[in-house]
């Protein structure tokens, strides 16, 4: 099966029903995408597939085949941060940080579609991303900051 992952062509030999999450983590070593629940309840595994945020634990390898996947590693790097990551660092959002890859990928997807979301819109779109540490107020603030960065860019 072939994918484009973070701009790079990748080929793996896996079952059709292996979730994209495990293709990324265990077959390709892209561990920035996290396993939290396996049933689309936590959003820690969120990646972009052909520009849309998806729960990679619910997308099978067969479904993802031939699509363009972006993971947290491809969104930005420590030396070249995406606006959302910049805002996350500025607001010091993370505590344990385990959900934040998914939060950031979901937020980036939201801002692709809407660069000036209200609190209510943020709550709706980010509502599927669970944070056990309770960083929600900072997530909201950081999404607003990232939106401003994107609008000014």
């Amino acid at each position: 099966m072939k994918f484009t992952i973070n701009g790079k062509a990748q080929e793996v030999d896996v079952e059709d029903d292996m979730p994209l999450l495990w293709v990324l983590r265990d077959e390709l070593g892209l561990t920035g995408t996290k396993y939290g629940c396996g049933v689309a309840q936590c959003g820690a595994c969120t990646v972009h597939m052909d520009g849309l945020a998806v729960r990679s634990c619910q997308v099978t390898a067969a479904t993802a085949a031939d699509s363009d996947i972006v993971t947290i590693e491809g969104l930005g790097t420590p030396d070249s941060l995406h606006a959302v990551q910049e805002a996350w660092v500025e607001h010091q959002v993370a505590q344990c940080g385990y959900c934040q890859s998914g939060q950031i990928m979901q937020a980036a997807s939201l801002l692709d579609m809407n660069d000036a979301p209200s609190d209510e819109e943020i709550d709706v779109v980010m509502g599927g991303n669970l944070c056990r540490c309770g960083t929600y107020p900072r997530i909201r603030a950081a999404v607003h900051s990232a939106a401003a960065k994107i609008r000014e860019a």
Partner: protein, 748 residues
């Protein structure tokens, strides 16, 4: 491991560093006879004199051993050293270190001295010092828990940095010929009077040859450049870029992926299993029996979990009651009974003869899961004469002890490499996942095995927060509370948790009254708190704030009911009763933040206040809710606390917010219940806690009036639940006496 050996080894090292050209610093030799764990793995060209600072010709390494499960303690530890060492946090590497008694936690004894932590004087401090010293001498234990990290390291890490700095200055003086008192330090370098710099790394070899400075006066807080200011966590950038490796991300050559299914009737054996179909599945390498269940070894985590689910297993039933109703009934039957008495924890005046109109109520606090987002995971490689463990754990040396027992390898050759943890809330105080990984890795000797729990296994095998019931009689007269009489009965969480470490709890379980017996109320004439203990329920474990979570809910709600019955103001009456100066200031700060006095809320809106004292920290939470047609809506929250010394205001604010969200979310919708011996909740759809759309704005103010620095990982949790319940009462007139609240009211 006596003093003689320590001194001998040190002499050897002093000799060797001249060759190696590297050095490490600290005064710990002056106060502790323990070996420096850095000596164990010292490479050529590096040396170490003390546990916390290592400098070689390439880099400066700060050792920060407290486990970081999200609370930012690695950053905090590094900043304490860096403040005095005069290095910037981006100039250093930070390591979780090599486990050893040199890192024994000296911050846990305060709470074990049997004196409420709000009491502070010279005699009390001597008693606490004695307990801490005895603990250190008898059971030097590395542990991150009990919100004890800052009390543990606040002095000793600054001391390690200061003595290292002064030793580097001595070396620079020898190298340059400039007297020490003319030298300055900044940004990892000694600065000479002419402005030229000698970097610490360039001085490592010279510094290794001078006798380390032992006693240095620490800087005053007014001179701090890092501490007390928001400096940005060192783990933030990696956590925001997916580049931080948690235990679950660990990878090593030839590693196989394993998962387990063990008896959900916790602690009971497996009768039989049939893995014939599962063994045929792709990628499955082996399936075999382990303690109370099976392990599946595969070439991919998902394949292992899928195969594990395809194994049919017959389980034995547990020794605890099968149905949840029986668990509650056992507590109901035990409360108030002499034979179940755990402690007469507080007795002031006489609650039976106290005057006033009675208010009585019963309370319940359920089993609640830890369920951090990173499932339990550990990687172990058993080699011929050595074992390596890569995982995140809060009691590091005990991990090595248990793995040594299972693998049969001498504990000195068992090495834990502690890693960042994706949330714990007490989960990583337990050992089952490490024991299981050790069992599997022993069978697969020579092959590294990463064990990863499925989320379902993580829920089903969790040892949740203990269940608790409370029975209170409050009295009031002339608009004032005159008496509080609270009985608490719980499953003994300490006995359960310690039994899994092979320890019989040798005393009453203080967690069964923590947060209630030390709810100050120094101006209340009649106050009694008794705790009652039950031991035969489902196994439980410390859940963020442990006993204070249920007990503050019970005590504070009972108090709130009595205050309302008296017709008094909930804030003013708490202030009147409290009698503990710093706690009163916290109450006043919270009242000020939310304009409690004179603020008029709208129709169907109400405010509740709660006070919680845990781990030495007074916290006041005010919650405002509105009763809407769609249910209770959380409007706004105010939190004030006194932590003695603020290390990083921004991170403290994050802890306050997070702990409050944690307390509120679980109070709203979380419980673990047993049916036929098995927990009925197995994923987040059954046990959700708070989502972003339910999260109100939360305001926080920190005070620094306490005599000592205190930890803040847990204290924000206990008052959140009663503040919410008290607010719902204020808005609706409906009193909630049992968590989770969504069994009784709807939430937006």
């Amino acid at each position: 491991m006596g003093r003689l050996r320590t001194i001998t080894r040190r002499s050897f090292l002093v000799g060797s560093v001249a060759v190696g050209g590297a050095v490490a610093f600290g005064t710990y030799r002056a106060v502790a006879p323990f070996d420096n764990p850095n000596e164990e793995t010292l490479a050529d060209g590096a040396a170490t004199f003390n546990p916390w600072v290592v400098i070689d010709s390439d880099k400066i390494t700060l050792i920060a051993t407290h486990a970081d499960k999200g609370q930012g303690v690695q950053s905090a530890q590094a900043s304490l050293i860096a403040e005095e060492l005069d290095v910037e946090l981006d100039q250093v590497e930070i390591s979780f270190g090599i486990p050893g008694p040199a890192y024994a936690n000296g911050g846990m004894g305060d709470a074990m001295a049997g004196i409420p932590l709000y009491e502070y004087n010279a005699s009390v401090e001597r008693t606490r010092g004695f307990v801490n010293g005895a603990l250190r001498a008898v059971l030097p234990m590395m542990a991150t828990g009990g919100s004890s990290a800052m009390p543990d390291v606040f002095l000793k890490l600054r001391d390690a940095g200061a003595t290292a700095r002064e030793t580097l200055k001595l070396a620079a003086s020898q190298v340059s010929g400039v007297p020490v008192d003319q030298l300055k330090t900044a940004k990892g370098a000694v600065i000479l009077p002419d402005g030229s710099e000698l970097t610490y790394t360039s001085l490592a070899g010279a510094a290794a040859e001078v006798e380390p400075v032992r006693f240095v006066e620490l800087r005053q807080p007014s001179d701090w450049r890092i501490l007390g200011k928001s400096h940005g966590r060192t783990d933030m950038l990696p956590k925001c870029t997916g580049t931080l490796d948690y235990g679950i991300d660990f990878n090593i050559e030839n590693m196989v992926h394993a998962t387990v299914r063990t008896n959900p009737n916790k602690g009971a054996p497996m009768k039989s299993f049939d893995a014939a179909d599962a063994l045929q599945m792709r990628g499955v390498q082996d399936i075999f029996e382990i303690t109370n269940g099976i392990a599946v070894v595969a070439d991919n985590t998902w394949r292992a979990i899928k195969a594990a689910n395809a194994v049919s297993i017959d389980w034995e039933k547990p020794t605890y009651p099968l149905e949840q109703a029986e668990h509650w009934a056992i507590l109901e039957n035990a409360i108030g009974k002499e034979e179940h008495l755990n402690a007469e924890a507080r007795e002031v005046g006489d609650v039976t003869t106290a005057e006033g109109t009675e208010v009585t109520a019963d309370y319940r606090s359920p089993y609640v899961a830890h369920a951090p987002l990173e499932p339990l995971t550990a990687t172990i490689l058993v080699s011929e004469d050595r074992v390596d463990i890569w995982t995140g754990h809060q009691i590091q040396m005990m991990v090595e002890t248990f793995v040594a027992e299972i693998t049969g390898v001498d504990v000195e050759n068992v090495h834990l490499h502690n890693l960042f943890i994706g949330g714990s809330f007490g989960h990583r105080l337990e050992f089952d996942y490490v024991r299981q990984a050790a069992e599997i890795a022993t069978k697969l000797k020579g092959t590294p095995v990463k064990l990863t729990y499925s989320r379902e296994e993580d829920f089903l095998q969790d040892f949740p927060r203990h269940i608790t019931i409370g029975r209170g009689i409050g009295k009031h007269k002339d608009g004032k509370v005159t008496s509080m009489n609270v009985d608490i009965c719980g499953a003994s969480v300490m006995a359960s948790q310690m039994s899994r470490m092979g320890i019989n709890l040798p005393m009453p379980d203080t967690q069964l009254h923590e947060g209630a017996w030390d709810y100050p109320m120094l101006n209340l004439q009649n106050n009694r708190v008794r705790s009652f203990r039950v031991d035969n329920l489902a196994p439980t474990s410390s859940w963020r704030s442990v006993g204070a979570a249920p007990n503050v809910f019970i005590y504070d709600t009972m108090l709130d009911e009595t205050i309302h019955a008296a017709g008094a103001d909930p804030m003013m009456e708490r202030i009147r009763l409290m009698g503990h100066g710093q706690s009163v200031k916290v109450l006043e700060a919270a009242a000020d933040m939310c304009s409690w006095n004179g603020h008029k809320v709208g129709p169907n809106t109400g405010r509740g206040v709660a006070y919680g004292f845990s781990f030495g920290v007074p916290v006041v939470t005010v919650v405002q809710v509105t009763n809407t047609p769609a249910g209770i809506k959380l409007d706004e929250v105010w939190v004030a606390a006194d932590v003695g010394v603020v290390i990083d205001p921004n991170n403290l604010d994050n802890m306050a917010t997070g702990g409050t969200v944690f307390g509120l979310g679980h109070a709203i919708n979380c419980e673990i219940t047993y049916a036929n011996g098995v927990a009925q909740q197995e994923n987040y759809y059954d046990h959700e806690a708070m989502r972003i759309w339910q999260c109100p704005p939360i305001h926080f103010k920190a005070l620094e009036n306490l005599e000592k620095v205190r930890g803040f990982g847990e204290p924000p949790v206990p008052p959140a639940a009663p503040a919410l319940g008290n607010a719902i009462f204020a808005a609706t007139g409906k009193r909630l006496r049992e968590m989770p609240f969504n069994k009784f009211v709807d939430f937006v």
